[in-house]
């Protein structure tokens, strides 16, 4: 066939209209995951205790365990996760565009993010607050002493704004030095370009433990200058998937509350007489069906990662290298803020 200009135009136009007719939406996330056999999870590029790959390429951390629990609940196998390391700026675009199914990357829930980015905040997995780290030898004891100082900070986070608000409210005139990459910001602090490094207190603990030559040379100041509820986010417009991620987290929390652990989950599933335990583990009622999952969805998740308390202790708790106290992240009946909606 000889292509005359008009025919060419017709072909191009036809091609364009095919493209335009493509659905703007990728369809149900869960269907995609089942077809793919994998949950694609956006995680941190390297924040020890939350999301970091070890020398063998194995991902560990609190955020990573949430991904594993979700994979176990949906696919019955916690290993079926593909981790996509994202920096602070890439993360929302990656989730919006469908590159990842869930963003579990120590992300703060804020109104702007929840209301205007086309994303939904699921459930809080770590209650944090922004703090400052300074070298011990600087003899700084309080953030109020940072008047006129340079503070290193990573861009693309809520941190920059908190720092400005705090600086303004206390008339400190702090000078931020903003870096694109976490590693660059940390490095600038440790080489002494800035007198202080600021991020969420958990992040400070992670950096101090992992990057500092001697963790004892650095101290985290007592002031926490913001509320940072961290947790996974999902795309808007897929309520079923939103519910699955949210209820997996609540399930892990409730498992701790009722004493279901990685070690005893099989035993309890077979023997427990407690109606709540039986419900969570899918022995009596089929809660999984309501979410579009198998009956033993929660049992699978707990078997893979343990309950929330176990996840916390293993990755960031007092006995882990990070050594963070349980504090406000304890269960509601133990003086903390963790209060899961009931799985029933």
């Amino acid at each position: 066939m000889r292509l005359t200009p008009l025919k060419t135009l017709a072909v191009v136009a036809a091609g364009l209209s095919t493209l335009a007719a493509l659905p703007a939406h990728a369809g149900k996330t869960l269907d995609g995951i089942k077809a793919r056999g994998q949950v694609v999870c956006g995680v941190n590029t390297g924040l020890a205790g939350f999301g970091a790959a070890d020398s063998n390429g194995k991902w560990t951390g609190l955020d990573v365990d949430i991904c594993r629990a979700v994979a176990a609940a949906t696919l019955g196998d916690a290993e079926k996760v593909k981790y996509v390391p994202l920096n602070a700026q890439q993360r929302f675009t990656a989730l919006q565009s469908g590159e990842v199914d869930v963003l579990s990357r120590n992300t703060t829930f804020t109104l702007t993010r929840d209301a205007s980015l086309g994303l939904n905040a699921t459930a809080v997995t770590y209650y944090d607050g922004q703090g400052f780290m300074v070298p011990v030898k600087s003899k700084i004891k309080s953030a109020k002493q940072l008047k006129g100082q340079t503070v290193c900070v990573q861009s693309g986070t809520t941190t920059e704004k908190n720092l400005t608000d705090y600086s303004k409210a206390n008339k400190l005139n702090i000078k931020p030095v903003v870096f694109e990459k976490l590693e660059a910001a940390e490095n600038a602090y440790f080489t002494g370009r800035c007198i202080s490094y600021t991020t969420d207190a958990s992040g400070l603990a992670s950096t101090r433990n992992k990057v500092a030559k001697d963790p004892k040379d650095h101290v985290i100041l007592p002031e926490l200058i913001s509320k940072e509820p961290l947790g996974p986010m999902v795309r808007r417009g897929d309520d079923e998937w939103f519910a699955i991620v949210k209820w997996t987290i609540y399930g892990l929390l409730e498992a701790e509350e009722y004493g279901i652990t990685q070690a005893n989950v099989d035993k309890l599933k077979a023997e427990s007489a407690d109606p709540v335990v039986k419900r969570i583990l899918g022995v009596s009622e089929d809660t999984g069906k309501l979410l579009g999952l198998s009956k033993d969805w929660m049992a699978n998740a707990i078997k893979a990662t343990g309950n929330y308390g176990e996840i916390f202790d293993r990755n960031v708790g007092p006995k882990s290298p990070l050594g963070l106290p349980r504090g406000v992240n304890n269960q509601w009946n133990k003086g903390g803020l963790m209060y899961a909606y009931p799985v029933r």
């Binding site: 200009p5 060419t8 135009l9 191009v12 136009a13 364009l16 493209l19 335009a20 703007a24 939406h25 602070a88 700026q89 929302f92 675009t93 919006q96 702007t112 993010r113 205007s116 980015l117 086309g118 600087s138 700084i140 006129g148 100082q149 340079t150 290193c152 861009s155 693309g156 986070t157 920059e160 704004k161 720092l163 400005t164 608000d165 600086s167 303004k168 702090i174 000078k175 931020p176 030095v177 903003v178 870096f179 694109e180 990459k181 660059a184 910001a185 600038a188 080489t191 002494g192 370009r193 007198i195 795309r235 808007r236 417009g237």
Partner: protein, 405 residues
């Protein structure tokens, strides 16, 4: 040259208005008609693709509940910026924040272009030196700096500055200058009305200097006696502004930097981020400019150099009066490219924490989530800057090109 027309072109030599207008030839046989159709198709396809991309983006964003639009620019930015040429408060708008970023970018780009041109020209000329050591040094410089990626060079300078220099509390002091990880701190004059008189003195100084130079050039051309045409006029300008400054009461009050508890306080400061970006871009681009200059000089016919010697010009005069002016027309177009590269490379500054326009856009993007808008603004800024630079250089090029008659 055929001019585009619906009609078949009239034969050579006939004036269009002499002939009665011919009937339009709407046929595939007419080359002009076919040409028109091709152009209509091309424009339709391009417009279609652009429309499709824009429409699809907007639709997708709406479907996913992502808010879009440039209305956020009027809102308060809410974040501080580490360094800026004018005071910026976090309560000011995103517009203003972007403007800080643009001025920071321009500050590095303009200074970098000036310094790289000076250094590059010296290095390029140095390649023709009769001294083997100078030639070798220039060659090694060029080969070293142009063969390492510029991002690595920026990181290298930044690491050197933050690793090697002492902490602010133990800053090296030379007179009233301090050097530390916090950057360079220097005294700045305290602004007083007396300094305005220096500017008043500058104006008559410029006029006097210009008049003198005109007279000197005229004398030289008439009598052949060489007169100072650069140093003396500059001296006149300097003396005149000094006289103005003295008339204004000779204010000498300075704001001196001094050691504070944790950092150097007061005075002016250059941050290590700014210095690393400026140094990195200057040294990198200078190596390319050196090659451009060398190529330009090499393109001037050898006879010109011999003729200059025959006229009794020394080596420096030969370079300044004969070789460089002729080389300039070969140098300017590729030089423009280097200027554009330097400006665009300044966007790498974000890697070492310099608040250029990309850095500000990154922050704004994350605070507001308006990714498409922020990227569009950055593109527009670089496009405008680059087109402006190119326009200026093309104008200079047309001035320095050989006028053929």
């Amino acid at each position: 040259m055929r001019r585009f027309s619906f009609r078949d072109t009239p034969p050579e030599g006939t004036m269009a208005q002499d002939n009665p207008p011919k009937k339009n030839n709407w046929s595939w046989r007419s080359q002009a008609f076919r040409g028109l159709i091709y152009q209509v198709i091309a424009i339709t396809v391009i417009a279609g693709v652009v429309w499709f991309l824009a429409h699809n983006t907007l639709t997708n964003m709406r479907v996913r509940g992502i808010q879009s639009g440039f209305d956020f620019l009027g809102q308060a930015a809410g974040f501080d910026i580490g360094e800026s040429l004018f005071p910026f408060d976090s309560g000011e708008s995103y517009w203003r924040a972007f403007w800080v970023g643009v001025t920071n970018t321009l500050r590095v780009a303009v200074l970098g272009i000036v310094l790289a041109t000076v250094l590059g020209t010296l290095l390029g000329v140095g390649r023709f030196s009769r001294n083997a050591l100078v030639r070798g040094l220039c060659l090694s410089y060029v080969e070293f700096f142009r063969n390492i990626p510029v991002l690595l060079q920026l990181l290298m300078w930044y690491v050197i500055m933050t690793e090697v220099l002492p902490m602010s509390s133990e800053a090296w002091q030379i007179g009233h200058f301090f050097l530390s990880k916090g950057g360079v701190n220097y005294p700045i004059p305290v602004w007083q009305t007396g300094q305005l008189w220096a500017a008043y003195g500058l104006l008559p100084g410029l006029l006097l200097g210009w008049l003198y130079r005109r007279w000197a050039v005229a004398r030289f051309e008439a009598t052949g006696q060489p007169r100072s045409m650069v140093v003396l006029p500059l001296l006149i300008v300097l003396l005149a502004s000094l006289a103005g400054w003295a008339l204004g009461g000779a204010p000498t009050e300075f704001n001196f930097p001094k050691r504070g508890e944790f950092a150097i306080e007061n005075g002016g400061a250059l941050t290590p981020e700014f210095m690393a970006v400026l140094l990195g871009l200057t040294l990198y681009t200078a190596s390319f400019i050196a090659e451009v200059v060398r190529g330009g000089i090499a393109s001037v016919a050898r006879g010109q150099s011999e003729a200059a010697s025959a006229l009794g010009l020394n080596k420096a005069q030969e370079m300044r009066l004969v070789m460089l002016p002729q080389a300039l027309r070969v140098i300017i177009p590729p030089l423009t490219n280097q200027y554009l590269n330097l400006t665009k490379n300044s966007s790498l500054a974000v890697a070492i924490g310099y608040p250029d326009v990309v850095s500000i856009a990154n922050t704004a993007l994350n605070q507001t989530g308006r990714a498409v808008e922020c990227i569009a603004i950055v593109m527009l800024v670089y496009l405008t800057t680059s087109l402006g630079t190119a326009l200026l250089m093309n104008w200079y090029n047309s001035r320095s090109a050989i006028k053929e008659r």
